[in-house]
Structure formats: C-alpha cells, structure tokens
C-alpha cells in the first residue's frame, strides 16, 4: 500500500531524526486535521461505514432488548459454563481499551512524542471500548435491574457489597479507569475544541464547539494550567493502565477453577491488553489514515513503532502461555494438568490452536521490517491479534469452566445466535461511536502536532 518514502530520516540508533516532514507548518497541520470535520465533504466511505456500524448497533439494541425481556437463558451459558460470551467480550473490550491510556499517559511520561499523532484517536477508542466493555457485566447479570447492589451506597437495610469479591473490585477499577480516561481525553481536546470553534463555518458549529471549549482562549495562563493538569492526569492514568486489567484478571485468578487460579494472570493480562489495544488502534488508524490522507501527520514510522510495541507485548503474552503450561506440569496438580491437556487437546482444542496461530505465530512476522512498514501486512497482522485475543479470553473462560473438578458436571458450551448478535452488536456500538467521533472531533491532536512543528531542535536534542 504505502511504503514510507524516507526511511533515511533516522539516526544511526534507529530513532527518527524528524517526526514530521520538513514542509509542515502550523497552518498546514491545523488545516489538515480541522478540515476533515469542518469543511471537507465526508467521503462516501464514511457514510458506507457508518451505515454498517449503525446497523450493527441496531442488532445490538435488539439483542439487548430481547435479553432484558427473556433473561440470560437466551445465551448458550449453562451449568457448568455459567460465564460465556458476555465475559469474554467484556475482557476483550477492556483489553482493547488499554492502548489509549497507555499511549497517552505512559508514552507521554516517557517523552515518546510520536504518540501525539495517535493519542487522541486511541483515547477516544479507549473510551468507546470501555463503554462497550461496561455494558457486558451489567447485561450478563441474571437480574440487571438491581445492578446497583454491587455499589457501596448507604442502603436502608445496612447491606453492603461483599468486598472480598473481585467483581466488586472490578466495578471500582473499570469505573475509575473510564472516568480518568474521559477527563484525560477531554482535557487534551480543550485547545483543539477552541481551534474548531474559531474556524467554525457556521453558527451551529460555533455553538457546539464553543460550549465544549469551556471558554478556552489560549492565554499563557490557560496553557500553563492545562499542561500541568494534563501531566498530573497522565500520572494518575499511568498506574490505572496496569491496575485495571490486573483487577480484571483477579476475576479469574481469585477463583479456584483450574485454568483461572494462577498468579501470573495480572501481568499477563496487562501485556495482553496492550497487545490487543495496539492492534485495534492499527486496525482503525490504517484505513483512516488512507481515507483522510493523513500520511503527512501520521508517518509510517509511527506505525512502525506501534508494531514494535505489539511485538514486545506479544512475546510477553506468549511467555504467559508457556508459563501457564509449565506451571500446570510443574505443580503436579492433577486438576491443572488435566486443564492444560484439555485446553490443548480437548473438545475446544481447535480454539486453542487458532489462538496460538493468531497470537503467537502470525505476529512473529513483525520481526520483519518489511511487514512492519507495509500498511496492508500490518493491518492483517493486527487483525489476527485482535481475533487471537478474543480467542484467548474464550479459552480462559470457557475451556476452564467446561471441565473443572467434578467430571459428572462436565459439559459443552455452544453460543447461540444471541451471543453472536451481542458480540457483533457491540462492535457496531464501538464503530458507530468511532465514526461519530471522526465526524465531530479533530481526530488528531492539533495542538500537540503543532508542538512538533514548533520545536524540531528540541526533538533533535532528545533524540
């Protein structure tokens, strides 16, 4: 598709000498990004894509309505497999929601300035993914209308949640993560919203962006406070990246089910989350970059960097798989040994095989620079990883449950049409939100990219 035109712009250590092409100016950056929303006609692809996403969203709403009407029995869950697609999807979406904050906060703190081109986008993606994720724990409840019993509120009966349950921890972890991610994203958006307001071509636009910009005038005081708040939030968000998926992994690790009860789960889940998050960013950025012709602000080397992160986290995940198997053998525990054997060779062995293909074998292609620097191949690898990470959660949730301690209760899990409708529908929800975001918000941080234009010397010094 698009080979990077200037691989020679790198220092001998492989760092980029320039993050942006030399011909970029303040005006060109602003125009490139803002015009997508304000002036340029939306490409036909947007309408086409939004139509598909919105249709899927309708499928989601239909599936959810039917679910609320009938109960979770419309899904394929049973005893012993009492958790099915809902939990798989929840963990998958939460994982996808990890890239945003990782890119924004941790890379910001690490002064990885190539992040600026993708942080806005990935933060939005995080929010939408967490929103998708958040629906599943509620929907999977037998009685979703009393979900709030899981919250610690002063109940007249004096009843509190049961704080030893990881599900309660989950509520705190996910809601905190969502709140901080939302604030972080909005704070970063403020200067750009003001830019949009100022460049607005009609009154509705002016009103819309004007209200959202909260009176931003770009004064030095504004900038000073904005920057310190942004850094502070980044500092707050960074540990959350690690904590959220650690807590999600406790849902499994705290239980005694063979295949769940494992101390490696927190780091292994975090690595997996970043892995799938970056894959999802790539899956979205690559087409967007092409459609909106953003190659100038999103050069190939950024994609290359993301591929490197995927390769690194992918290896960590593979290590996790290996250690799980090793510990099952090394512990000598008959239940763990059987679990591992059943995972690989049992009735769901084919899922495990696919998982290995998607998450371990295919991503090894990223060792090749040619693969990393080719948008088409990168897109395909990222797609494999996204599917692979979903399969990983399927393997953990379902194959562990379907054959645990009591052989008499062993059974199979077969998803129903409603399981699939909810999964596909949640993708529709995610994509719909994303299409609206592209349509309504500057998808790349104007102010931060402009910083890159402004201070090439600073970058050179750091490089």
């Amino acid at each position: 598709m698009h080979e990077d035109p200037s691989p020679s712009d790198e220092t001998s250590l492989g760092y980029p000498s320039e993050l942006l092409a030399a011909d970029q100016s303040y005006e060109s950056v602003t125009e490139t990004i803002a015009s997508v929303v304000l002036t340029k006609p939306q490409p036909r692809v947007w309408f086409f894509g939004f139509a598909i996403a919105f249709s899927l969203l309708m499928v989601f709403l239909f599936a959810v309505s039917y679910l609320l009407l009938r109960g979770v029995g419309i899904w394929g869950i049973n005893i012993p497999v009492a958790w099915g697609f809902a939990i798989v999807n929840f963990v998958w979406w939460i994982g996808i929601g990890h890239a945003g904050t990782f890119i924004s906060a941790i890379l910001l703190l690490l002064f990885q300035q190539w992040r600026t081109a993708i942080n806005r986008f990935s933060e939005a993606m995080t929010l939408f993914a967490v929103a998708c994720a958040g629906t599943f724990p509620l929907l999977h409840l037998g009685r979703p209308w009393v979900f709030f019993w899981i919250l610690p509120y002063p109940d007249t009966m004096g009843v509190w949640p049961q704080f030893r349950s990881p599900l309660v921890w989950d509520v705190f972890a996910v809601s905190t993560y969502f709140t901080v991610s939302l604030l972080f994203w909005f704070l970063g958006l403020l200067p750009d919203l003001a830019t949009m307001r100022d460049r607005a071509v009609n009154r509705p636009q002016r009103l819309f962006y004007g209200i959202l910009a909260l009176g931003w005038r770009g004064s030095a005081v504004h900038w000073q406070r904005h920057q310190s708040a942004y850094l502070l939030l980044a500092g707050l968000a960074a540990p959350l990246v690690l904590s959220v998926h650690s807590v999600v992994s406790f849902d499994f690790a705290v239980a005694i089910v063979p295949g769940w009860h494992s101390t490696i789960f927190p780091p292994y889940f975090v690595a997996g989350a970043i892995y799938s998050g970056f894959a999802m960013v790539l899956n979205i950025v690559i087409p967007v970059r092409k459609i909106y012709k953003l190659e100038s602000v999103l050069p190939m080397r950024y994609l290359n960097n993301m591929a490197n992160v995927m390769l690194a986290t992918g290896i960590m995940v593979a290590y996790g798989y290996f250690i799980e198997a090793f510990m099952a053998w090394y512990s000598g525990d008959i239940y763990d040994r059987f679990m591992m054997f059943n995972r690989a060779f049992g009735p769901y062995g084919w899922v495990f095989g696919l998982l290995m293909l998607c998450n371990v074998i295919v991503p090894q292609a990223l060792w090749s620079k040619r693969v990393r620097r080719n948008t088409a191949s990168l897109f395909i690898v990222a797609l494999f990883i996204n599917v692979g990470m979903w399969l990983e959660r399927f393997v953990i949730v379902i194959t562990s449950l379907h054959r645990d301690f009591s052989p008499s209760a062993w059974s199979m899990y077969y998803p129903t049409i409603w399981d699939w409708a909810t999964l596909m529908g949640s993708i529709g929800l995610f994509l719909s939100l994303l299409f609206l975001f592209i349509r309504l918000m500057p998808m790349i941080s104007i102010s931060e990219v402009r910083e890159l234009v402004a201070e090439p010397w600073k970058r050179k010094a750091r490089a």
Binding site: A82, Q162, A255, V257, Y335, R403, S408
Partner: protein, 971 residues
Amino acid sequence: MKMNPPAPRQYWRSLEEAAGTPEFLDFLHREFPSGASEWTDAFSRRDFLKLMGASLALAGLGACTKQPIERIVPYVRQPEEVIPGKPLFFATAMQLGGYASGILVESHEGRPTKIEGNPDHPASLGATSIFGQAAVLDLYDPDRSQSVTHEGEISSWEAFLAQMSDALRQQQAGQGAGLRLLTGTITSPTLASQIQVLLAKFPRAKWHQFEPLGRDSVRGGALMAFGEDVETQYHFDKADVVLSLDSDFLFSHPGSLRFTRGFTDRRRVSAGRGGMNRLYSVESTPSITGSMADHRLPLRASEVEAFAQALAAELARAGGGGGGPHGEWMAPLAADLQANRGKSLVIAGEQQPPAVHALAHAINHTLGNFGASVTFTPPVRANPVNEMDSLRELMADMKAGNVEILVILEGNPVFTAPCDLNFARGLSSVKLSVHLGSHEDETSALCHWHIPAAHFLETWGDTRAFDGTVSIVQPLIEPLYAGRSGGEVLDALTQAPVRGPYDIVRDFWKTRNLWPDFEKGWRKALHDGFIAGTAFPETRVVFRPPDIKGGEKQEGIEIIFRPDPAIWDGRFANNGWLQELPKPLTKLTWENAALVSPATAESKRLANGDIVEIRCRGRHLRAPVWISPGHADNAVTLPLGYGRERAGRVGSGAGFNAYALRTSGAPWFDSGAEIVHTGECHSFATTQHHHSVEGRDIIRAGTLEEFLSNPDFASKMGGLPSREDTLYNPSEHEHAGYAWGMVIDLNTCTGCNACVIACQAENNIPVVGKDQVTRGREMHWIRVDSYFSGNPSNPEVSNQPAPCMHCENAPCELVCPVGATVHDNEGLNVQVYNRCIGTRYCSNNCPYKVRRFNFLEFNGALTPSEKLGKNPNVTVRSRGVMEKCTYCTQRITAARIAAEEADRKIRDGDLVTACQAACPAAAIVFGDIHDPNSRVSKLKKHPLNYSMLGDLNTRPRTTYLAKLRNPGPSP
C-alpha cells in the same frame, strides 16, 4: 295479543338455558361444589358471573340436602381445627399395578403438597419410590380430564347414567352376555366385591384384567412349581447371598422399597460389624439392581433360562465340578449358594418366562430357603388370572362382535395392549364403550364415554400391599374436577342406590366384621394407613419339580422390553418431574432410547443418537440408539411407555412407542430382530456426559476384604488439610449450637432417584423442559451421578447422590459481589434469593457444581392448579436467581420452632431432609454434628467416611461413606 309466559316459568326456562353451558352442567351435577373444585384452566370474568348467577339461583335448592359426614383422620397430630401454616399429615396408600405402598401426605390448608412414606406400612417402611413422590404433581396436572365426555362432546354423569341404565336394561335379558369389564390388576377388596355383585347380577358378563407390566410369568412360575398360585415373599433381610435372575428387585417389584431396606441393611458395615451380603446379578439391561451387584453377568434375556437350568443342575449335583455355559462364573456362585443354605435367595424377574421362575423356586427349594428367606402367601390379587389370556379372550369376543358394552376402568389399553391384538380395531366394534381415566388419552379418544377418574388423593378406595396388608385410601381434597372413583362407576353398573365413594368403601368394610367396634377400628385403620393384621398368613406349598424343556437358542438380535425407569408403562408420561428425571445409569431425560451394548454398537457401527429402524416379525420401529455399558450383547432394550400421542402437554410426542413391537406372544423379549441404519441423527437430553472420575478423589471404593483387613483404607486415601493451615484465627467463628451435617452412604445407595424427586417436590423445583436440559440447565438440587469403571462391556457402577456440600470454607461465598450466599452460624451455606443479582460467579467457583441457576423464568407459566401444589414454606424462585440445596432449611426451622415451643433442643431424628425421608436404603443421614450421640456424628466417625474433593480444603459438611463391594473369593 300474544301473552308472555308467566314470569316464574320464564325464570326457569332461562335457567335451563344457562344449564346448557358446560360449566353450568358441571355445576348442576356436583352437589357440593367447593372452591377448589370449581377451578378451570382459563376462568374468564364472564364464566365467573355465569357461575355466580347460577349458584345464587340454586342456593336455596342446595340447602335442601344434608351434607354427608365423611371423616378423614389426621395421622400425626389431631388439631381441633386446621391451623394455617401448620401442615397436617394423613395416611393413605398409593397403588402401582394394583399393589399398594403406604404413604403419608402432607396437607397445607387442605392442599396436599408432599408425599412421604408411611413408616409403619410394610411396603414402605417410611420410604417412597419416585412414583410415590411424583404422584402429587399428577393431582394438579392441568391436563387431567375435567368433565364427562360423550363422543368428544362435554356431557354429564347423569347423562351417562341414563344411557348406561338403558343399555344395561337391554343386557338384562341376555344375563349380561354383551357386558365386559376391563380393569388393571385389582387387589382392592371393595372393588372386587363390587365386581362380584355385578357378575352376580349379569352372570354372563365377563371381567378381564390387563396390566401392561403384569406379573403373569410370576404366576405362571408358581403354577409350574407348586401347582397353585401363590405370592412369593422374599426376605432380603435374611439373605447373605442373593442371586437375581434378570430381576430389578430394587426398583420394579411391588415390594421393592421394602426389599431395598432389607437388602441394604445387610450391606451396612461398621468397625465392629463386618458382615455384608453378596449380590450376584444376571441381567440383560443394566439396572440399578445390577449396579449394586458384587458379581454381574450380562446375558441376553433369552439366555437366562439356560443359565438358571445349568445352575439348578449344578446345585443338584451338589458341588460337582464346573462346566456349562458360564462355568467360570457359575461354579463359585453355586459354591457360595451351597455354603449359605437357608441364608440365600434367588429371585427371577417379572420379565422372565414362567420357567425361570419355576427354576428359581427349584433352586430356592434345593438350597433350603423355603420358610427362611423365601416364604409364600396366598395371592394378593383379588382374582388372579393370566392377564394376557384374559385380554386375548376379550379381543376374541370383541372381534366376534359379542361385546356390546365395554367398561374400561383406568388403564390405557389402546396404547398399551400388545400390537398383534389390535385393541383399537376391536374397540371400534363395541356398541357402547366407557373409559374411566385421569386423562383424555388414546383409549378415551376411541371410547364413546369418557369419565374423568378421581386421583387417589381425591377419593376413597382400598388396596393391598404385596404381603396382603390392606390400606384404606382416604382423600385429602375434594375432586378438583368431576372425578369419579372406580367404585362409583361399578355402582352405576350394578345400579346400586346412589352413594358416594366414601360409603362404597365404608359399607364394604362394615360387612367384614373385622372390629368389635367398627367406628373405632375404622378410625384406627385410617389413622394408621393400613389395617393391622391383614397381611396374609404364610401358606405351605408343596414343591413339585417342574418339567422344563430347555430354552432354545435364539438367533439374531434380541429385543427386550422393559418398564421405563421414569414413566413406568407410560401412565406417568404427563408428569414433568418424572419426565425430567435423569434415568438411572443413562441419565437420559424426556425420552427413551434403544439401548445397546458397546460391542453391539461397534459391530453394527452405531453411535449415540443414531436413528435406526428396528424390524421384528414384519413390524418396524424407528428409535434413536443409546450405548449402554454393561448391556448384553446382540440385544436391544426398548423401554416401554414413551411415544404417547395423547398424554398431555408434557408427555405427548416424547420418545418412541416400543409397544408397537410388543406382541402378546413375546411380551418381554423377542428374537430375530434387525437393526437398520437410517442415517439420521437425534440429540438426547442427558444430564451427565462423562462417567469417569478421571482419577480424582470423588468416589472412594474398596472391597469388604480390604475394609476388614484395613478399616481405615478409605480415610487413608487422603485427608483434609489441617484446620490450622490458615492465616486467620481458626476458632474465630466457633459456635456452640447446632452444626448441621449430612452423611451419604455410597455403599447402600442404589441410585433409585427417589431423593431427586423428593427434593423437587419439597423445594418447588421447576421443570425446565427437554430443550433446557439439552442446554445443561436442569434444576435438580440433588443429582445422582453414576461413575463407571472397568471394562465398558460390564463396568462397575458407583452411584453418588450429590446435594450441596455446605462447605465450611465455601468457595462460592467468597466470590459473590453482593453477599447473596453466606454462611449461617449453624454451618448452612445459605442462598439469599432476594439479594442475588445473578452473576453466577458462585457456580463457577463451586467445585461440585451443585448450584442451579434460573436462566429463564422457569416458573412463569404455572397454571393455577400447579400453583396449588407448591410448598408454601419454600420460595418459588424467579428468573435470574441462583439456587441450590438448603438442607431443607424450612424443615430445620419447623423443627426449631417445635423444639423451642417445648423448651428443648432439636432431638436427633426430629428433623429429616426430604431426600433422607424418601430414601428406601436409608443411605442419607442428616443431623447435628455437634451432638456426639446423633446418628450423623457417629457416621462421621465411621472409618469409611470421607469428603469429596477434600484436598481443596472446602471442608464439606456433606460427606460420604466409601463404597464397598463384596466379591466372592474366586471369580
């Protein structure tokens, strides 16, 4: 000018118009409508107004008649009046195939809700079978027929009486030559005497009996061996060595509840008592009896005769060297039997031909068991006949056009009669056919008149147990619909003065002069549930060696007919509890399957669910195959009772109808069948897919020898982690009060499933349907797991009932986010339905997988009559809520209230759980483990006691006694 008719006349005419509506007719013909009996399925406001209007109009008329006094006597407590919230217990009896089993029925404010065994009744000893437990659901079955119908149109009892008396008047001339009565097996003294009256009035009328799962061959065997019909009484409590010749005596015999107790009592071991009986079982179809066997030999049903003959010959040789067809199996058996003369017992199955029964008698005679473990009494049946011959005779008469009136008292012969007799065609030539039945079934569809039968909990009657003991059947509720008893129909035939079912039974017993003071004796009989001293005395028999020709060798595939282990002969097909009950060993629900052995499946290339066509003697049947480990090779078992077309909403269309291949000549097995693939597949709803313990600490088993040489062998297989191995203070939550616990003895559990249905009845457990069972969502709080070990051609089976373990360190409690499952101070792991939000995390974390989830609104479609049957002391759970065994917490509370009222502690035995109460083997013991003298505490100290998956440190309160087998020394 045209005058209007006078006003009063107009009034009556409009009432007659009102009388034209079925509801009103129904009302008219019942003198004493009670609230409960007026219920109909969909009661509209309009109907209500109609009824109200009519009852106002008739209020004055009703007052003219004196209400008869029919006293029923509560069993346990006799309060001055019914106290709301306090159940009353009434003793009565339930019959199956004519034979009674005594029961106590729990009644809440006039609604029978739960059936328990009558501890004093000889055929119950306090236990119940699955049928007894499930009978209460039949009472409230919304599909029961609700009115008299004539050719499909709703009619009335009076109209029936009118037509009947016309028809009978015509019969009078020919002395009833065209009158036929068809009943099941009758043991009821009252019915029998009424029939005698009928036959006296119409001397040329005939009474035929036919029971689809009849005991003709038992009778035939007695005739062969003794020249007279006698009832054989087996005393398993006196037998050390038992040989079953294809007999499922732990399940399908009229005395099986008592047999189970006697048999299992001799299997209980303790540190001090090491004696244990030994069961040899020769059987074709794996049964629960076979699963208890110490030595089991799978043989085709047709080969049992040759086996029995060889054994008889072997024993006659008095210890001669082996040989014969199964020498290596038979020689030690013969030696063992010889060594236990007078203490052994040989029993032949109802499905074996008379010759096998005669051979069993011969062997028992040779072994000196007569008078010891085997005794004889006169037949319990009122008029013992060969029922198959009796039915044949009736068919011949019907085909010849000699039958003008046929009255069928209960039973469903159109469905159950042998296919070669073609009952339906014969029935069409009858001029006036009447069917008394609980449902509008296959037979009533072809009869002119259908009379709804009253359920045994609704009407009066009497019956005999297998030993002759008479029980008076007393009702607990007015008939819900217009049900009539068999006695009332017979009264209609004899045109006796109108009397109710109460008077029919009472009048008969008045004439018997049993008691000096009738009223006192009658009350005592009702109170006790049986008439003491009516068991038949032992009779002496003279054994004549029967002349038995050798059974010929059968070729080809053999088909074997068996009662279904859940719905019997099909009469329980509309009972949801029984339909959803996982059948022993196969764990199939909602349908039957053609059972074949693994080897036969392999040679015929069959897999589970393959639909095959079974051809035999020009008839054919399509049936799905189920591979049954331990089944005899080259044979296929077809359980009877399924394939009903008009059973009701629950049972219609489930399974295949094996009666379609069953002929009068070969009612139990036939040879020369063919199995033909159809290439189609069927999906079964089973509740257990995996029958291996996978080397896990789930079942502990050993042999008696191991136990005697090393009594602690089971506990040495692995103990619990120490209580001190914790970061917390181990005595933090110590509690001095009650500590509930349970012990289940795997050594005596037969896997009969009574506990499963008892729990379902007690705890309002919903029926979810085949589709939901297929999805793994059955709701039983206690399940019976069957684990197989050894060679699939003849595996060892271990049955393990699994209720909630009530773990002291319950993994489920830790993970619930809202604290909906918590521990109480007496050690119960309680589930708070109101608090549960349905995350199902608890179930995931339960290593025993005993939690059940309401995936959908399983109680949403309850009809009003089904609601009547619910236990008012147990919450009916709604959608989205987890549930599980509570150790019958409502019973604990009731016992606690009673104890506190009496200012004492709950005593051991005050309190039994529903599963424990039903268990015929007394394998389940529940109680306070803090009380060192309670039975459960003593069993917890039993050397065989172990905790399932105890290595997980869950510290279960439900523990098991390891299973022992007692194989003979050599085979």
